[in-house]
């Protein structure tokens, strides 16, 4: 089995599984309890906060709020901030966000705020000139993903933030870092990011855990009410096994300093073999460009439906997804791909290949070979 759907989820590191199992077997204490074993668990959790702060390029005094994953982190950032604002404020959001952001923005709109959509260009990047025209002194919240989950385009978050701050110095900049965290550099302080959402299971950690990094001084209204954990911002007993597992994943990723290089080398190796085929195109920045994430490759096979290609690859024990896994259930043409100017047929013929640290060069070669073989076979049968 060659697993090339790491943007949907990744296989956890063995050490992650071990640390979770140890936590459940022996250190199962409620981290909020008063006795020492509980305190030890709390300390371990705080070490995880520190590791995330370092990796997100945040400051020591900034906060890390543990959540149940990327979706909850995005919800808390957006709804939590909106609840502190007057409806004269407007929100800016890119037009290619994951539903965790896009649908939450729809809620914000129903709350009475104006939500403005930032357009993207043919390379799948937000169009900064157009964005600037959308901003004004009432722009209170700007949300843009770090890396597009569909094309792997690294978004110009720093420029966007600077631009917004020039219009309104109190603007909050939110970045959905689910596809970017620890694979593409993030420095919240330097890049002017106030709210950064990350997820555990995309970095070989456990599912059901994530975090929202909140710059000190940013006020949020809790969206989960209860026992007052996380300084009252996110109530609920700590999911300690998952948090400790997340810590281990962050540590393992951090220990591989060449991780981005390693992923990029794999991606370029695969693309080198695919790009020579007639009728194959890459969507978004090309793999040798600086704004292309090292682990995501969106490829269109001319005349072969993405779904058919995906099924056929599955038959060869190679797992990929069409478009992005989250929208592939709905089976409509991807809004991002269409926004990038692809025709319906081209967008329909797209698969997403996403790499993880467990992939190998041999897998790239084998996958490329199978893709070529299937492309040649399947392209013969077109709708007449």
């Amino acid at each position: 089995m060659i697993y090339l759907d790491n943007s949907a989820t990744t296989r956890p590191f063995d050490s992650v599984i071990d640390s979770m199992s140890l936590c459940m077997r022996e250190n199962y204490y409620n981290a909020s309890a008063a006795y020492k074993p509980a305190l030890d668990v709390e300390r371990a959790m705080n070490a995880c906060r520190q590791a995330i702060i370092t990796q997100a390029g945040a400051k020591r005094e900034d906060e890390v709020i543990f959540t149940a994953g990327g979706t909850e982190s995005d919800n808390l950032a957006i709804l939590g901030a909106a609840a502190t604002m007057r409806t004269s404020a407007n929100f800016l959001v890119s037009s290619i966000e994951h539903p965790a952001v896009a649908e939450t923005m729809a809620r914000v709109e129903r709350m009475g705020f104006e939500v403005r959509l930032m357009p993207i260009n043919a390379r799948g990047m937000i169009d900064l000139d157009a964005c600037e025209k959308l901003m004004d002194e009432y722009t209170a919240f700007v949300s843009c993903m770090q890396v597009s989950n569909e094309t792997g385009a690294i978004q110009p978050v720093a420029q966007l933030s600077a631009m917004a701050r020039a219009k309104n110095k109190n603007v909050l900049v939110h970045v959905d870092g689910v596809q970017g965290f620890m694979r593409v550099p993030m420095n919240m302080s330097r890049m002017g990011v106030d709210l950064y959402a990350v997820s555990g299971h995309k970095i070989h950690g456990p599912k059901g855990v994530g975090a929202l990094v909140v710059r000190k001084g940013v006020r949020l209204v809790p969206q989960m009410i209860g026992g007052g954990q996380e300084r009252n911002l996110r109530s609920g007993t700590y999911n300690t096994p998952a948090i400790l597992g997340l810590h281990k994943a962050v540590e393992e990723m951090a220990a591989r300093q060449d991780r981005a290089q390693q992923l990029l080398a794999l991606k370029q190796r695969l693309w080198a073999k695919l790009s020579v085929l007639d009728g194959v195109r890459v969507n978004g920045p090309a793999p040798d460009e600086a704004d292309s994430a090292p682990h995501i490759l969106s490829v269109s096979f001319d005349g072969v439906r993405g779904e058919v290609m995906r099924n056929a690859l599955e038959g060869e024990w190679i797992l990929v997804s069409t478009g992005s896994a989250c929208s592939s259930h709905k089976q409509k043409v991807s809004a991002s791909l269409r926004a990038m100017g692809l025709t319906d047929t081209q967008a329909d013929g797209t698969i997403r290949i996403s790499l993880g640290l467990m992939n190998t060069e041999e897998e790239m070669d084998a996958a490329a070979e199978k893709m070529e073989k299937l492309f040649m076979l399947l392209r013969q049968y077109r709708r007449r």
Binding site: R305, E307, V308, N311, A312, E314, G315, K330, Q331, R384
Partner: protein, 382 residues
């Protein structure tokens, strides 16, 4: 005193000399349906009773899905000698209810000291006295308290309608062409309801349809099997046939020719399964392959009768039925059961048989069918 379930059966009582056969089937199916909640099923004086189950609601849910059952009533079985106790129990059962009531009585034990009118009168009076918020209406009561005196006394108020039909397996066997759509599970249900045992055929076009599409079909089969019991689904690899048709036949005939192959293969599988008919979910005029002429073209290739119980139904009626039997939600899942690569832009709506026959000559039918049958995967559901 214990809680039992009284089961009424529908059309079976119309049967004459072979009635015991129908009854035996019906009891077997009820036994099978409740196997997971436990319970005894027994026949007494022409009535079916279920007792000693672990969960009444689940037992009702399952028994009301057995074909041949007309309605059920949760009932209390108690000794018949103490009439005062019977009245007290009846009043107890009526207490949570409101509105009007009447008491019905039936006495099969003719040695019982009171006759039916006396039982009705006495029990009715007792209830009226002890449950003052109820009143009597003998013509259109909201509730009917049924008291039956047999070997024991049986008291019941509630009557829950069941699926009706005839006991499964009393009317032969048929083979259902099951797609992932809304219509075919409904068609299967409707024929199965008449006591017909089912088996299914599904055509799978990997990689043009996905594993999930196949899983969806199996789930639909499982939902139908909640009514008709365990059955076999034959999953036929269909890609090669579709590709050959796509390549060698005129575009406007491709769907029809595909349908003809589906029917041919289904008939062979039906014969192997000992089935005597085919079932499809077609409705006249719904799509191009379901016009009168098109149906004629697909019927032509098989000798078995083809049952199309949805033939005169509107789509909305079929959907309503699918919702009732619980298959609509699964049918509406988005996984495609047919790839658009193979759907012609302008399918023939008034095909002429001789042209179709001629177009089909381009294919090596025998080899294609043999190869498809070779790859059949049989999955048991239910």
């Amino acid at each position: 005193m214990r809680q039992i379930l009284l089961v009424r059966f529908g059309e079976v009582f119309l049967k004459g000399q072979n009635r015991p056969f129908f009854m035996r089937k019906l009891i077997d199916h009820i036994r099978f349906a409740i196997r997971e909640v436990g319970g005894n099923v027994w026949l007494s004086e022409g009535r079916i009773y279920v007792s000693d189950f672990s969960d009444l609601d689940e037992c009702i849910r399952r028994v009301t899905k057995v074909f041949g059952v007309h309605s059920v009533s949760p009932a209390i079985e108690m000794p018949k000698d103490d009439f005062e106790a019977i009245c007290a129990q009846a009043a107890e059962m009526m207490r949570p209810l409101s509105g009007t009531f009447k008491v019905l009585a039936r006495r099969s034990d003719k040695r019982y000291p009171m006759d039916s009118p006396a039982i009705m009168r006495e029990a009715g009076g007792y209830i009226l006295e002890h449950v003052p918020h109820l009143s009597v209406d003998v013509n259109h009561p909201d509730h009917e308290m049924m008291i039956e005196i047999r070997d024991h006394a049986y008291l019941s108020v509630e009557r829950i309608p069941a699926v009706c039909g005839m006991p499964m397996g009393t009317n032969g066997k048929a083979c259902l062409l099951l797609s992932g759509g809304i219509d075919s599970p409904v068609a299967g249900f409707m024929i199965a309801k008449r006591g017909v045992e089912l088996c299914c055929v599904h055509y799978h076009s990997f990689p043009y349809t996905s594993e999930r599409a196949k899983e969806k079909v199996l789930e639909l089969a499982r939902l139908v099997s909640e009514y008709c019991g365990r059955m076999r689904v034959h999953v036929v690899p269909f890609t090669e046939i579709q590709l050959q048709i796509h390549e060698k036949c005129p575009e406007n005939f491709t769907t029809l020719i595909m349908r003809r192959y589906m029917m041919r293969i289904a008939q062979i599988i039906a014969e192997r399964e000992g089935a005597q008919a085919l079932i499809t979910g077609e409705s006249v005029g719904q799509v191009a392959s379901q016009t009168m002429e098109a149906l004629g073209c697909t019927d032509e290739v098989v000798s078995m009768p083809v049952f199309r119980p949805c033939i005169g139904m509107d789509k909305s009626e079929i959907i309503e039925r699918a919702e009732q039997i619980g298959t609509f939600e699964t049918s509406s899942l988005p996984y495609e059961d047919c790839c658009t690569v193979f759907t012609p832009k302008h399918p023939a709506t008034h095909p002429r048989k001789e042209l179709i026959r001629k177009a089909e000559k381009a294919l090596d039918s025998e080899a294609l069918i043999a190869a498809a049958l070779e790859g059949v995967e049989v999955i048991e559901v239910g």
